[in-house]
């Protein structure tokens, strides 16, 4: 354990959180492979089935290395109560054929990492009101929620960098207008602004549209803060001596911006990215939660969590909280990353 805030500790924090985040994103992008079922596949006879138990020991006591399950059926005459049929065992099989899916929308495939023979169903994280597998939906939902945050933050920072960079570099009336508009955007509480912009679209839009729209809206609403930050850096950065020297050698404006001025802001940009992504993930989740984002049947962590508003779900089926609980580790990773990057930038510039 090195000293908190020391260089080594910082770099290690950056590396650890980055690699864990990479793993997370890889697993949601490979959702089709990792998830045993299609996220929209319904089992109407199994609503709110509790998480399945993987067994290793048979009733007679023999231990098996390969986990197996029993078929779970609802008790006759009851709702939401299930029992295992202890007759036949269904061993876990690897790389089985199942529902077709596409990886990243291109590569079409039918193999799943694991699966069980029909009629056994395995809900690692339980099932929802239509008997859909929460585990599969969580993975697919991550594709929407996590990726939307990432794209929206990149868009906001891209816009912010361009506008803030130009405003700071050229100054004058462009700068004035840019900063006044930024002030207007910052004067609005952010969620209210987001909802106001969301109101421009019809209530029910198809999921792909909704996803793209969310990314664009969140990105467009968020450009103001990074733009102000970048403008500040460019404002002082363009007067640094190596920049002045390059200008004296006859470098063009665009070359100066690209090669000498904007790179000075790189540290801040990356730190901002780590700050903004979790915010925007949460924005997508919140909008979808209120039914204004990505809608059913496509899963997003927000619209999955919306089910937990129901009284009976809230009190009886804890696994329906999982999409919300899953946010915390993601936020923690980004938070660690942002902290470490921030300290690293502070160290380098001081």
């Amino acid at each position: 354990m090195s000293l908190p805030g020391s260089n080594v500790g910082n770099l290690r924090n950056v590396r650890t959180s980055l690699s864990l985040l990479g793993l997370l994103y890889a697993s949601v992008l490979l959702a089709g492979l990792l998830a045993p079922y299609d996220p929209t596949e319904q089992n109407r006879d199994m609503p709110f089935a509790p998480p399945s138990r993987l067994h290793f020991a048979e009733p007679r006591g023999t231990f098996r290395l390969r986990p197996f399950v029993y078929r779970v059926v609802s008790k006759p005459g009851s709702f939401g109560e299930y029992a295992e049929e202890r007759g036949t065992t269904y061993p876990m099989r690897f790389l089985v054929r199942g529902a077709p899916y596409r990886i990243a929308g291109i590569l079409s495939c039918t193999r799943h990492l694991f699966g069980f023979d029909e009629p056994a169903k395995v809900f690692l994280f339980g099932s929802d009101e239509y008997g859909r597998d929460v585990f599969s939906r969580l993975l697919y939902g991550g594709q929407i929620s996590l990726v939307a945050g990432l794209l929206a933050a990149s868009l906001a920072l891209g816009l912010g960098t361009i506008l803030g960079g130009l405003a700071g570099f050229y100054g004058g009336w462009a700068d004035e207008i840019c900063m006044r508009v930024a002030e207007l955007f910052l004067a609005l509480p952010w969620l209210y602004l987001l909802l106001a912009v969301r109101a421009t679209l019809p209530l029910h839009i198809d999921p792909v549209q909704a996803f793209l729209f969310l990314v664009v809206v969140i990105g467009m609403v968020g450009w103001a803060r990074p733009a102000r930050l970048i403008r500040g850096i460019v404002l002082s950065g363009k007067l640094r001596e190596h920049v002045l020297a390059a200008r004296a050698f006859g470098a063009s404006d665009s070359y100066l911006l690209r090669r000498h001025v904007l790179p000075q802001a790189a540290g801040v940009v990356f730190a901002q990215l780590a700050v903004l992504i979790p915010q925007y993930i949460l924005a997508e989740v919140t909008l979808s939660f209120f039914g204004l984002g990505v809608g059913e049947p496509v899963p997003s962590w927000g619209n999955m969590l919306a089910a937990a508003q129901r009284y009976d779900v809230l009190t009886s089926y804890w696994w329906m909280f999982l999409p919300g609980i899953a946010l915390s580790p993601v936020f923690l990773l980004y938070y660690t990353l942002a902290n470490a990057l921030h300290q690293q930038t502070a160290r380098l510039t001081s």
Partner: protein
């Protein structure tokens, strides 16, 4: 004083800008409140057309805006189709409720954060400080949706607190003391959600700025002369650390309002948050503009108050102005 006037004018300009902005956004939306009516076979097209004409729904955007401005001058802030009433009568009680919730939550959060942060700052690195840091980090990474749902779950399970709403059905029959108690019970859940949301940020800032001040030479000198620790901490250090903290009050309002929207909607607190969500669903243009404006107004006034507080707290600012 001139600065204050300038700030007010600026604030007014921002409000006008925001109203134009939200009008444009809302006008881009396809359909309006009456477009659903067109599909209803029981309502004749002539009625719909008459209604559209009466409320000026087919006017071009600048005229619509002018119409709205006139109604603002009358103090109505436009007309709500969904509630069939002027927006102002709808908005003010809601705004008051949001204010009640956010102000209570902020005050309590500061009252908890200052001693906690001060204690943490005066024992840096000890187990208590570490525990505090751990808890604040944990709270920081829990999103408000989950926090709100979690608190609801607790309320439902224990049954100590009413779930949702602002007052009981028998509120009107209660005495003044009973009314206060009932309101406090209803306020408890949403307020604690907001407090838990804000606490980590506040505690961290209090701790960081106090640690900085405690290392300053004048504190060392005072300590060497035997000023008791507690007096040093709360009288001298806190006063010196007040500046960035007061700025934080202004900065945290935006986050507070956004958090409040979610909490209000989750716990059905009748504030402006649920009103906005309803207005989006119903395509109720003027209510939408009204709520967005109202939230902006809160933010501006909050920032102004924070600046005024800063002006009072920091003699250097006063000297510069004079």
């Amino acid at each position: 004083m001139r600065y204050l006037c300038w700030r007010m004018v600026h604030g007014l300009l921002v409000l006008v800008g925001v109203s134009v902005l939200s009008f444009v956004f809302a006008a881009l939306a396809p359909g309006d409140f009456l477009s659903e009516m067109k599909l209803d076979p029981r309502i004749s097209p002539a009625t719909v057309a008459a209604l559209r004409d009466r409320y000026g729904l087919d006017l071009p955007l600048p005229l619509k805006y002018a119409q709205w401005l006139r109604s603002v001058r009358r103090g109505e802030l436009g007309f709500s189709f969904a509630y069939n009433s002027p927006v102002a009568t709808l908005l003010w009680p809601r705004a008051r409720n949001t204010l009640l919730l956010t102000v209570t939550a902020t005050t309590l959060a500061w009252l908890i954060a200052v001693p906690l942060g001060a204690w943490s700052a005066s024992h840096p690195g000890r187990w208590g400080d570490r525990l505090c840091a751990g808890v604040t980090t944990a709270l920081l990474v829990v999103p408000e949706l989950v926090l709100g749902l979690g608190l609801l779950l607790v309320a439902v399970r224990t049954g100590y607190f009413p779930v949702g709403g602002m007052m009981s059905a028998r509120f009107a029959d209660l005495g003044p003391w009973g009314k206060l108690k009932d309101l406090a019970l209803h306020l408890f859940l949403p307020a604690s959600a907001l407090i838990l949301l804000n606490l980590p940020i506040l505690v961290r800032h209090v701790r960081a700025s106090l640690i900085e001040v405690l290392a300053a030479p004048f504190i060392q000198a005072a300590r060497a002369r035997g000023v008791p620790h507690r007096r040093l901490l709360f009288r001298d250090a806190l006063r010196a650390a007040a500046n960035p903290l007061i700025s934080l009050v202004g900065l945290s309002i935006a986050a507070l309002l956004s958090g409040s929207l979610v909490v209000e909607a989750l716990m059905s607190w009748p504030g402006i948050g649920p009103l906005l969500l309803g207005a989006i669903a119903a395509r109720d243009l003027h209510v939408l503009v009204g709520t967005v404006l109202c939230s902006t107004l809160f933010l501006l006034v909050g920032n102004l108050l924070a600046d005024a507080l800063l002006y009072l707290a920091d003699p250097r600012l006063r000297v510069d102005q004079a």
